[in-house]
Amino acid sequence: MKSPVPMHIPDGFLSIAVAGILWLVSLVFIFIALKKAGKEIDESRLPLVGVLAAAIFAGQMLNFAVSGGTSGHLLGAALAVLLVGPWPAVLIMTSVVVVQALVFQDGGILTLGANLFNMAVVGVAVAYFVSSLFRRWFGRQRWAALLTAFTAGWLSIFIASLAAALELAFSGTSPANIAIPAMGGIHALIGIGEGLITLGAVSLLMASKPQLFDQTSKEKVKSSLVWIAGLIFTVILLVFSPLASSKPDGLEWVAEKLGFLIMAQDASYHIIPDYVLPGIQNEALATIMAGVIGVIIVIAVVTLLTRRNKAASQS
C-alpha cells in the first residue's frame, strides 16, 4: 500500500534543527487542539473522532485510475475539517499521520513532527480557511458546498506540499528552486484528485445526511485562531515560495544565519555559482535552465514510474 500522497518525508531528509523545531510547533498545536476540542469530544464525539480517523485512513486506500498504473488517492484533511470542524480534524489527522509513520513506516519518526505540521496543521488550517471564507461569501447553497469541498481539498494539498518543499530547502537537502516547483507542481496535480474525491464524498453525505454540515457553524467563533493560521500559512507559502524559488541564495543566507545549514552538515548549496549547469556562463540563465530541467526530470521519471507501476498492478 503506497502512501496516499507523496508528501511524507522520510528520516534523514531534514536537518535536525528543522525537524526539531517542527516537532515542537506540532506538539503545541496538538495540545491546543486537545484543549479546545477536548471537552466537546469527551461529551459526545469521542467514538466519532476515533472511528472517523480510521475511516479516513481506510479511505486513503480507495483509489481511482488516472492512467496505466498511476492512481489518485485521498489525504483527507479537508474532508475531516468539513465533517467535524478544525480542532477535532487536527486530532484526526494527527492519528492518521502518526499511525502511518509508526505502523506503516510512511514518513520517518524524527521527521514525524514535520509531517504532522504539513498534514495535520497546515492542511487542516488551509482547508478550514477555505471553508470559512466560502461560507461567508457564498452562503449555504449546494453548489457552494461542492465548490468548497473541491477547493479546500485542492488547496490543502498544494499548500502543504509547499511547506514540505520549504522544509527540504531549509535543511539544505534540496535547492529551493528545484524542490518548490517539483513538489508544488506534482501536488498541484495530485490536489485535483483530492479535490474531486472530497467533492464526491461531500456530495454523497449531503444527500444522505444533510444535518451533518449544520453543526460546523458552531465552531466558527471558537476557531478564529485556526482561520487566521490558515490564512497566514496560505499567504506566506504562496508568496514566499516563488521568492525562495527564484532567489535560493537568499534563502540559504537566511538558513545559514539561523544555523540550519550547519546542522545539516554543510549542505550542498552555498552560492548560486556553485549550482550552475556546466557549460553555461550566464548565472541567471543557468538558474532558470536548472529549474526547467528539474521539471523535465520530474515528468520523465513520473512517466517511467507509471509504466513500472502498470506492470506491477497487472501482476
Partner: protein, 273 residues
Amino acid sequence: MPAGAFQRASYLPGGSALHRCDARVKLALLSTFLLTIALLPIGAWVVYALIGGLLLAGLLISELPLAVLCKRSLILEIPIILVLLPQLFIKNGDSLELAIFPYHHVYLSVMGLERIVSLLIRSWLSLQGAVLITSVTRFEDLLAAMRACGLPHLMTVIFGLMWRYLFILIGEASRMNQARASRSAAGQSGAARPLGLIIWNARVTGGMAGALLLRSLERSERIHQAMQARGYDGHLRGSSMEEPLTAKQKGLTLLFVLTGFLLLFIAYGWKMR
C-alpha cells in the same frame, strides 16, 4: 481482510527477548538510534557499517527472519528522489567525468554523490530501525508506553479507538474497491483515459469514500450507545497502571545512549583526522 494491509502493519508475534522487552525501553532505544544516525556526518562509512551491524544484532536477538529488513524498502516518493538529484551537479570540489554523448561530457560532483549516498544510507538505516522495533512491539503496547511518557489521555483513547476499527474499515474499503473493479468494464490497458472519465472516476471514488464515512458515522453512534450503556458519562476514565522501570531497564537504556555517543565520537574523530 486484505493481506497487504496487515502484512505492512509490521507486528510479527514472537517470544524473543526483544519482544518481551518493555515498550518504553524499546521506544527509548529507537529514539537514541534515530538521533544518533541523524547526528552522524556525511561520509562516515565505518560508523554506518557499525550501525548496520547493530541492526543485524537486533534482528538476531528478535529471532525474526532476515526478510524483515527487506519488507519495507526505502520507497522514496517521486518528488523526494527528484529533489535529491540536483546534488549531483554541484560545482564544488572534484568532478566525475561521464561521457554520455560523444564530445559532450557531463560533470558529476563527487561530493554530491557522497552526500546522496550518505543520506540514503542514513535514511535506510533509520527506516529499518523503525521497522525492527515496530515488528517486535504491538501497537497497543506502544500506545501504553507513549501514555506513560506523557501522551494525554484523550489522545490515547482516540488512537485506541482508531486502532480498534482501522482494520475493519480497511476491510470495508478493500471490498468496495473489489466490488467496483468487478463491475467496471473499463479495460486495463495502459492508454491514458479521457479526462472526462478520470473526473467521473474520481467522483465515484469520492462517493465510495462518502459511503465509508457514512457507515462509520452510524457505527460511531452505536459505539457511543454501547459506551453509555456501560456507564460512560462524558468523562474519560481508565487504568493507567504502569510499573516503574527497573534498574536493569534503565541501565540498558543508558548503555544504549552511551553507545550512541561513542559512535558519534568515532565518526567525528575520524572526520577530523
